[in-house]
């Protein structure tokens, strides 16, 4: 299920990953989700060799890692942009006119507004997400882990431009 592509990590990312692996050694299956969250915070997504290394580190079968990676939507087995924009696409945000916001984001990033996707320069991935639980701030989005809302379509250029 994972991508044929592999991660190209910087030396400091490699070091961080190795430190992480030592910390999780032998901790078993219950540590799998916490470990994958930490791995992804370093690497952005999880390739085949990294998935295998996670399995060996925890001491669990590789299939268990694949089962989890492919079940949870916040884990990625394909390359994603440097920053992930999750736009809430549920009832309260639809009522607040999130369609225009999604349209504007998709135009700026050159991706399909129906499905989202990653910009050609790999700087951003746009995702349409089920209710993000910030309905009092609709239309709402999260830029990586930063909550933002309500967001007007004409704020989009500043939002994207202000990101390094």
């Amino acid at each position: 299920m994972t991508s044929d592509q592999t991660l190209a990590l910087e030396p400091d990312q490699e070091r961080a990953l190795q430190t992480l692996m030592r910390r999780y050694r032998g901790r078993g299956q219950s540590a799998l989700l916490p470990m994958l969250h930490e791995v992804q915070a370093i690497t952005g997504w999880v390739d085949e060799p990294t998935a295998r290394a996670v399995a060996h580190t925890l001491g669990i079968p590789e299939i268990e890692v694949h089962n989890v990676l492919t079940f949870y939507t916040l884990f990625y087995t394909e390359p994603v942009g440097k920053r992930v924009i999750r736009v809430c696409n549920d009832i309260a945000c639809v009522l607040a006119g999130n369609g225009e916001l999604i349209q504007r984001l998709a135009e700026e990033l050159g991706v399909d507004p129906e499905t989202g996707g990653t910009s050609a320069d790999s700087r951003f991935t746009l995702e349409l997400h089920p209710c993000l639980g910030h309905c009092e701030r609709a239309p709402f989005l999260m830029l990586d882990e930063e909550p933002m809302g309500p967001v007007a379509p004409d704020q989009v250029p500043d939002l994207l431009g202000g990101v390094s």
Partner: protein, 406 residues
């Protein structure tokens, strides 16, 4: 309207990062009181309060507390903070703005039930709540509220935070256990119930965030106080997540049983958009639509159950007359088709068929008999799905047709 908020009293008042501020505003007094009472009498307070679970299922919390208290051997307490019902944001605000309250409640639950370890499973899309809780847990260890001999009780209790990873199904309690155990979030068959065989197969108390936080004033002020608020058969304060076409969307704390009209008019500042009420979706995507004739319905567990609806998590999404309800139904149908975990076929196939039928109706290609087909699929999912996701996946959509909103 002379109601003084209790569950949200510290919100916007305390610095959520500061333990001293929490202590200065009544923090850890409930835990101290519980230690005075002892485990057995603390559980009795929860039983006498007749607290019904605030996560959606309205199960009596006291029954769970007593069962885990009586169980032998290692056991766990789990806070279900995987809030993901569309339209629901109450637990997020509690955790972001008053994180120590949840932690105190979990420690108290551990003491009362005799559990040595607790988990708070926080929704993956709630990073701010997770960070605030993480910092607060560290402070509680430093201050001795976590670890050995808590408040001189002799009880040792440890607390671990877990982050979800984007799966609505993990709000289902047994799927949540699977997730903590490092597996796909597939719900388990019940029985056995969590109080007998829950997390890691051990007796487990699992409660929603709001349910746990509600125990603090129950222990401090007593069950009689709790029973004096709201209707006798679903008492207590309640959090409502109000959103959609109202002038002032937001978190509302009110006595259980506030009417839909009062919630919209007095708390939400009235209907926005056209200004004219069309419907409200109560209980989120798993809930039921109420129409203009039902504006005076008290929003409590029993009143809603009597009319075939459910309060669920207390989400209320309001629609004015300008909203095209078929598009809302399309969104709901797509949501369930996306979130069905695929473990059991009635739900896996039913949610997809439901989505396809609604989509073709929206596209103007509805066929004769589509509504009967939707009812049939809904009935099958209600009867044959193994968990609440499939059992409620058709309720909002069928209720919309019932009310002729489309």
């Amino acid at each position: 309207m002379n109601y003084e908020p209790v569950l949200t009293a510290r919100i916007g008042v305390v610095d959520p990062a500061c333990l001293h501020d929490y202590e200065a505003h009544g923090g850890f007094q409930a835990l101290a009181r519980a230690v005075e009472l002892g485990p057995d009498r603390t559980v009795a307070q929860v039983e006498a309060a007749k607290l019904l679970g605030r996560g959606g299922a309205a199960f009596p919390a006291g029954i769970k507390w007593r069962a885990v208290h009586n169980a032998e051997g290692p056991k766990f307490v789990v806070a279900n903070a995987d809030e993901s019902e569309p339209g629901t944001f109450k637990d997020r605000i509690l955790m972001e703005k008053d994180p120590y309250a949840l932690i105190e409640a979990v420690i108290l639950a551990g003491y009362a039930t005799g559990a040595g370890k607790g988990f708070i499973y926080v929704r993956g899309e709630y990073p701010r709540a997770y960070q605030r809780l993480r910092q607060a847990v560290a402070r509680c260890y430093e201050a001795g509220y976590l670890g050995k001999d808590i408040l001189g009780s002799g009880h040792e209790f440890h607390l671990e935070l877990r982050r979800g990873a984007g799966a609505y199904i993990c709000g289902e309690e047994t799927a949540l256990f699977e997730s903590i155990e490092g597996k796909r979030g597939y719900p388990r068959l019940k029985p056995p119930f969590p109080t007998e065989a829950g997390l890691f197969g051990r007796p487990t108390l699992i409660n929603n965030v709001e349910s746990l936080v509600s125990v603090l004033p129950i222990v401090l002020r007593g069950p009689d106080w709790f029973n004096s608020i709201g209707p006798a058969n679903s008492p207590g304060p309640k959090l409502y997540s109000l959103s959609g076409r109202v002038r002032k969307p937001g978190l509302v704390e009110a006595p259980m049983g506030v009417t839909l009209r009062e919630l919209i008019e007095a708390h939400g500042g009235g209907v926005s958009g056209s200004g004219e009420f069309q419907a409200a979706l109560v209980g989120g995507a798993a809930g039921v639509f109420l129409g203009p004739d039902q504006l005076d319905t008290p929003l409590d567990f029993h009143s809603l159950a009597k009319m075939g609806a459910a309060l669920g998590s207390g989400a209320v999404i309001v629609f004015d007359t300008s909203v095209d309800m078929m598009q809302v139904l399309e969104r709901i149908a797509a949501f369930f088709a996306h979130e069905s975990c695929g473990k059991c076929y009635p739900c896996q196939l039913g949610t997809m068929r439901q989505r396809d039928i609604i989509a073709r109706m929206v596209a103007g290609q509805g066929r004769p008999g589509d509504l009967a087909l939707l009812r049939d699929i809904g009935q099958t999912m209600r009867d044959a799905s193994i968990c609440g996701l499939g059992q409620t996946a058709s309720s909002a959509i069928l209720s919309a047709f019932e009310l002729q909103l489309t």
